[in-house]
Symmetry: C2
Subunit: 218 residues, 2 copies
């Protein structure tokens, strides 16, 4: 996929990627999207859950939400997902950085009103967080469906940026004797905490019991 004028990464271009596989894998690894719109001439950035299905990113939210209504109007949007993989400590303050993977999507949202596509989006957003969990819960009823807007944004204008590996120090700093390296960071799931109203002995569903999306503790 060729970058467009607004998706082309302008700096540290060796860290850029535009292929759908890289973009998709980062979106699948992320938890929260930071969704940007313009309101009264100023930017507004709000965290949201989301999901990717093939070349489409789905958002859902209340039909009463200002963000959702602005997106629905076709206003320009920017959706950014970032996964932090580590802190990179160099021998100089200047070369401190993060190891990370991020995706920036530019586009306009399309209202999803097809029943089957809406169902796929609901399922995808929940299964993005806990794969396979959607089948264990009650699907939206008619009233809930009426309260929920589903929006789709194409990934045609998406770019990725990735950094990994050790610090890039200045040659003259290598002899300073200062320790340098990476502190890896992982998102880890702790033990599931049952809702107080769960009847004792209710088994964890397999989607939770076998959750492999996050590094296990211990």
């Amino acid at each position: 996929m060729q970058p467009t004028e607004r998706t082309r990464v302008l700096r540290n271009t060796e860290q850029a990627a535009y292929d759908p596989e890289t973009v998709g894998s980062i979106l699948d690894a992320g938890l929260v999207a930071h969704v940007g719109i313009v309101h009264d001439g100023a930017p507004v950035v709000i965290p949201m859950v989301y999901a990717r299905v093939a070349g489409t990113l789905y958002l859902h939210g209340s039909v009463a939400s200002r963000l959702m209504r602005t997106l629905r109007s076709g206003a320009p949007a920017c959706v950014t997902v970032t996964v932090v993989d580590g802190i990179v400590l160099a021998r100089s303050a200047f070369n401190m950085t993060l190891n990370y993977r991020s995706v920036v999507v530019h586009g306009s949202a399309r209202l999803v009103d097809d029943e089957a596509e809406r169902d796929r989006a609901f399922r995808a957003v929940l299964d993005h967080l806990v794969p396979g969990h959607y089948d264990t819960v009650r699907p939206p009823n008619a009233a809930e469906a009426r309260q929920t807007m589903v929006l789709a944004i194409s990934l045609l204008e998406a770019s990725a940026k990735l950094r990994s590996g050790p610090p890039a120090d200045e040659p003259e700093d290598l002899v300073s004797g200062v320790w340098a390296g990476e502190i890896p960071l992982h998102t880890v799931a702790g033990a599931a905490v049952p809702d107080p109203a769960v009847v004792a002995g209710t088994p964890l569903p397999p989607s939770v019991r076998n959750l492999a999306r996050f590094a296990p503790l211990g």
Copy 2:
């Protein structure tokens, strides 16, 4: 602190907070800020490292960066920091949510050109990630300082939003026998990985050895 028109949380207002202590503690807990600007009428959202010092949020970046130059011009900005604390699994798809803490800051950046304030900002951004580490590394030299723009954004127009605790299920779903609860998520630091050029036997600095900012593994 009273919310302004643009910082007032419009929905789920019981989750909103505006006091500087709550805003500050969330900013201190976050890793990456998602910084929004408007470019050619469209939003652009970029992840950046940052730090908070009292009522000010600092960003730094290359003087050649389009984002930094736009911010420096005094253009309206929105800076959002989100910490995800857990996945909330309800008995219905509709009531699935995240436990999280987020801060949204509206404002315009001020160029920091005072030498002492610039130094404080450099230190704060590095120490935000690894407290106390700045004193172990080489500070910016004159050439590096010339390449780096430091910007300050006031936290006067900041709002926080927080959710914690179990799912909020519909009364009729409580008898469904479906498991519900929270999967806590933690950001955990793995063992530090030395740069290949670190001489064997170089000790870890105390800032890394005693790093308590992230939950320890195991």
